[in-house]
Symmetry: C2
Subunit: 294 residues, 2 copies
């Protein structure tokens, strides 16, 4: 008997949506049985080209790409409105199908944090500075949920964007420290044509704010140029950035730091390894960006 051609959907193919921890484990167990190399991209949804680049990087190195979509309550502080975080599941699923992800892990908050949940994973020495100053419990929430996801999904490799550079450093450290057998890959920032780092939070920006937002990128480029001209003093390099940021009336600086890319410790003299990391309020939206100095 011939199968109806309408039943075939070679491209975009159906993506498996797994909305329980047990279903996710069964799926992975099946793939492991077939000796598939598993890549994993944890996200909070509201997917954009930055996430897509992570899925593509995973497809290059792995047989199976699993993407989690979970707006993690543990990484929002009480004053941060998790209910306003953009949720676009149908759009996300369609995008993931188009770019060739194989499965979506889409658990509920109740499933990830059942009644009585009491455990936290923290990487204190990397979490208290930089973004941890204004978001003291944020990275504890991130490290905890990523540890859980790594243990549930048990991928071979996991892909994070360098846009949240501190987050990537914390996750690398946590994974190594807890002996979780996952290779963590930090992938380059994907930018809009004008240089603004892609972020799910960019949808919050008004047209004026969106114009100002590009100044984060421009300030990083300016510091790079100043460095190339021979300036090594972080304070002077920061000043060159602040001058650029001052052009944006909707901008309010949270911090700029020049740090070691692994320990995140401040550099007192800039060198080629130095990472510039910054956070700026653009209206009410907090934007982050970073760049290697050279």
């Amino acid at each position: 008997m011939k199968r109806s051609p309408s039943k075939k959907r070679p491209h975009p193919r159906d993506i498996a949506v797994l909305d329980t921890i047990d279903a996710m484990r069964r799926y992975v167990k099946g793939m492991r049985g077939k000796r598939r190399i598993i890549g994993f991209v944890p996200t909070m949804g509201a997917l954009h080209e930055g996430h897509a680049s992570l899925v593509r990087a995973a497809r290059k190195e792995c047989d199976i790409v699993i993407v989690s979509i979970f707006v993690n309550p543990a990484q929002f502080a009480p004053n941060e409105d998790i209910s306003k975080y953009p949720r676009t599941f149908e759009h996300d699923r369609a995008l993931l199908e188009t770019i060739g992800a194989h499965a979506v892990f889409y658990p509920s908050a109740r499933m990830m944090y059942p009644s009585g949940f009491a455990t936290a994973v923290s990487v204190d020495s990397l979490s208290s500075m930089l973004c941890g100053m204004s978001r003291p419990t944020h990275f504890r929430g991130v490290a905890t949920v990523v540890a859980k996801l790594f243990i549930i999904v048990a991928p071979d490799k996991a892909y994070f964007g360098e846009k949240d550079f501190q987050q990537a450093a914390i996750i690398s450290r946590m994974t190594e420290d807890l002996n979780i057998p996952v290779t963590v890959r930090a992938c380059p920032i994907v930018r809009e044509p004008d240089g603004l780092a892609m972020s799910s939070r960019n949808v919050y920006l008004s047209p004026t704010e969106r114009k100002d937002a590009v100044l984060l990128y421009r300030s990083l480029i300016t510091a790079r140029k100043t460095y190339r001209e021979g300036v090594r003093d972080p304070a002077r390099l920061k000043d060159s950035m602040k001058t650029v940021l001052a052009e944006g009336k909707s901008l309010k600086l949270d911090y700029i730091e020049f740090v070691d890319p692994v320990t995140l410790a401040p550099h007192t003299r800039a060198d080629n390894r130095t990472r510039m990391i910054m956070a700026v309020y653009c209206g009410k939206t907090r934007l982050i960006d970073n760049m290697r100095l050279a």
Copy 2:
């Protein structure tokens, strides 16, 4: 060619000693390939009949029993002398061979906590009370090392003694919260003929202290008897225990609490589920014990 009979050592057979994380993972991978059910008993060495009972429980339910011996620096406070903790590796290995354990994981502190190590696992709501009052960082160190060991050894089942009841509750909670696929078994306390709970720390006791130490057990039995006579007020039950403890001149009470066996929250009215938990200084040695009220 005949093999020399002297090469055969059927019982006690050689136990595998794995002193690196990689060697441990390879051993487990090999056993998994043969579909062996793996049981795990984490210890700090100085093994006694309490540990032996855990190995026996593991042998009943599993094909392979792995015992870790690691005096975990993270669970000792600066004022607690880790260098004095009893270390008896050759004795431990011989005992484990005799009772039929298959492998010992015996890593160094440098391997478990390499330079730059920065991660902690904590179960705050269960860790601050009871023994956490006098040892504020202790359970954080325990939860961290057990998470690491569970991830490295990846056993099916793990066995803990109920002697450290709070520890067993914390490890159960942590394992469930982090979705670690290990079944945690809490096994009954093993006691000396006179009732003293077995502990590696009992070797520290002078003959007089050893005599006094049995009063912990006797006080628990007394509270049980008082409860059976109809007393439900924890304060009165505690008083009956304190009267017994007062007979020991070397004893100094740290705490007695009557708690829920899962949440460790205090019971204001005792019932059959109530767990009595206590810690008492016996000379300079801190002893713990606990018992179900009924």
